[in-house]
Symmetry: C2
Subunit: 379 residues, 2 copies
């Protein structure tokens, strides 16, 4: 990679909000935004085939650098032709930097300005990653979008700690950019910087100003949805998002429920990811227009209706709640397969509708009607 | 059901063995034989979709009456339109009688000439099943082939015990036939009697003679592959099979490895089932022409070849051993999905080849070459 070119084109703007539709131009095809990205931690979206992801219409999925670095190792994936050759998914991959997993999964970690030392949650082995090595790992994976290494902080830390973490994160963004520019020119993946600054507006502003100077092709808002109250999330989403430049794709990490997604879209966010839709599916919690449905409930034992009669996904056309409940109660793998397909298809359909509503400048109405019905408790 | 009509047509006979090809005429379409039937205990072949089973080419799958009777209950399945309506699989279902599961899973059971009392392995609840109730349960499930209730015996019992068990099994066959003839005429499923008699040739002969008199549309050989040495299995398979009538389909229960299947075909058996191909798949043991492959082995970590380069299944065309090993090591559901698909496709392909070899009267050569390579240990 040798230049930091423009990868995002705005297609239309909603007049009732900051929502926008656009197109991201990536090495493995374009991505229509706003888009939800399913999480495929180990280069597989759990219980889904690549054909099903394509059938639903996804253009990009996420994989976790931390997990793949530890097992099977970036060298094996590189030898297999990157994530695409390894998994067979030939549309785009976004990989995270591993930072979040180091903070949440690793039993031991030590951050220095140079990088982060940690122990594997699998076998306790010691590892040291730097902003540069993380860029190179993601290049080995051949990620279409790669994330800088950052320092994640919990919800309730004091300003001084948040400032320290941000200073390192900003330095790492600079170093990541340099390393990314030095990757082999055959590598066409794009680098995203990450806004940090915890829940301090001055730090968030400072973070964005630094990132604009560093000039990465895309920008992510990190450190949201980390346990803060919903109104704090909304406030910081809004005040952070409005400082982001128009010409770069905007990414909020770790959100995947309709309410959070619709809020993000309202504030002009283009992409988001979360394990929740697929994890909830495996746990028996299914999306419907009328809210979430817990399939284990006795009331569905003889319910021969689909999960959601208004859903056009293959699962809703083929299977009843009664059969799905039976599979769930028997811990059948097919349950995870069908439930995950439905939940991801449901979110994807919502995103298609979101894009249409933005293009007709009716997004706010769409959001309000969607949420009214979703929260209506008709189930 | 009101008559015991002929459901099997012989298509061709191998001149080098007793192998034969044929067609079974069943309510949900014809079944080309010899055929392997995947096991779908809970009305789902674990980790497989109905579309994949159809893609591979299966025309019949098995479901377990015992499990479905206990959960979700035959009435719910009947309400859903039988097994087909419930699961969406629109080709044939064979259901077993539940006898085998009562003997292997239930903590408590008591056999009387009237029927069998047992406790559920799920919740300890008490149940009593008779030959008649088992016929009616399977009619509720709308099974295309249903099995009589029988008394299963272990490998090493004495003649007197085997005789007692057989006497009850024969009486139950008679009662099952009567109950089956009395089922509603809308029910078109076929009844199979089961040959028992343990490992006593006189009892096996007596069992078959009784079943011929009772005249069920098909006959199964029960009580084989229950822990006996392989030569004992072969001997009893041969001496039992040669007493079976030509005009009825012949079924050996519980076999699913290439060697046992090819022996069964050699002796003129038409259908067989086993959980092994799918269970082994989930445990990481994959069929190849050169024998079984244990995917967990370190040697496959960087092996970018398919499971079997000569296999035309979708898995072998799309995925490497390295990716499959990675999925296996991470307990990914996708591993079970892909591995099961491959193992079932492998066996199905073998059966297609078996049928072709019978039609060209070269079955013995086919079997010898297949087994030579399979046992060759090239892996």
């Amino acid at each position: 990679m040798s230049t930091s070119k423009k990868i995002f084109t705005t297609v239309s703007k909603d007049r009732t909000s900051n929502a926008r539709t656009g197109v991201m131009h990536l090495p493995h095809g374009i991505v229509h935004t706003p888009a939800f990205m399913p999480v495929g931690t180990n280069a597989t979206v759990k219980a889904m085939t690549k054909e099903w992801l394509e059938e639903i219409g996804f253009e990009i999925i996420l994989a976790n650098t931390y997990h793949l670095y530890l097992r099977p190792g970036a060298d094996i994936i590189q030898e297999a032709g990157g994530l695409h050759g390894f998994s067979g998914w030939n549309k785009n991959f976004l990989t995270d930097s591993g930072g979040y997993q180091i903070f949440s999964l690793s039993g031991f970690r030590k951050i220095t300005p140079e990088g982060v030392k940690f122990r594997s949650h699998i076998d306790g082995s010691s590892h040291f990653l730097t902003p540069e090595s993380v860029v190179n790992l993601q290049a080995q994976l051949n990620s279409d979008i790669q994330m800088q290494l950052d320092v994640c902080t919990p919800y309730d830390i004091e300003w001084k700690k948040a400032k320290e973490a941000l200073t390192i994160t900003t330095d790492w963004a600079q170093r990541a950019k340099k390393a990314w520019l030095e990757t082999d020119e055959s590598y066409q993946g794009q680098l995203f910087g990450i806004v940090q600054g915890n829940f301090y507006k001055d730090l968030r502003k400072e973070s964005i100003e630094s990132l604009l100077e560093i000039d990465t092709p895309g920008i992510a808002i990190g450190g949201l949805s980390v346990g803060e109250p919903r109104d704090v999330y909304c406030e910081f989403l809004e005040t952070t998002a409005e400082l982001l430049p128009e010409d770069k794709p905007r990414y909020v990490m770790g959100i995947g429920t309709p309410d959070y997604i619709l809020d993000a879209v309202y504030n002009g966010i283009d992409i988001f990811d979360c394990v929740l839709p697929s994890r909830n599916a495996r746990n028996g919690t299914l999306f419907t227009r009328n809210g979430q449905l817990a399939i284990k409930k006795e009331r569905y034992a003889r319910d021969f209706n689909p999960i959601d009669a208004t859903c056009n996904c293959r699962i809703c056309k083929n299977y009843s709640r009664a059969y799905l409940r039976h599979l769930y109660k028997n811990n059948e793998i097919l349950f995870s397969m069908l439930a995950t397909f439905h939940n991801l298809a449901f979110l994807h359909t919502m995103m298609v509708e979101v894009r249409a509503s933005i293009e007709s400048s009716t997004f706010t109405t769409y959001r309000d009607q969607f949420m009214q019905r979703y929260n209506g408790g008709a189930l």
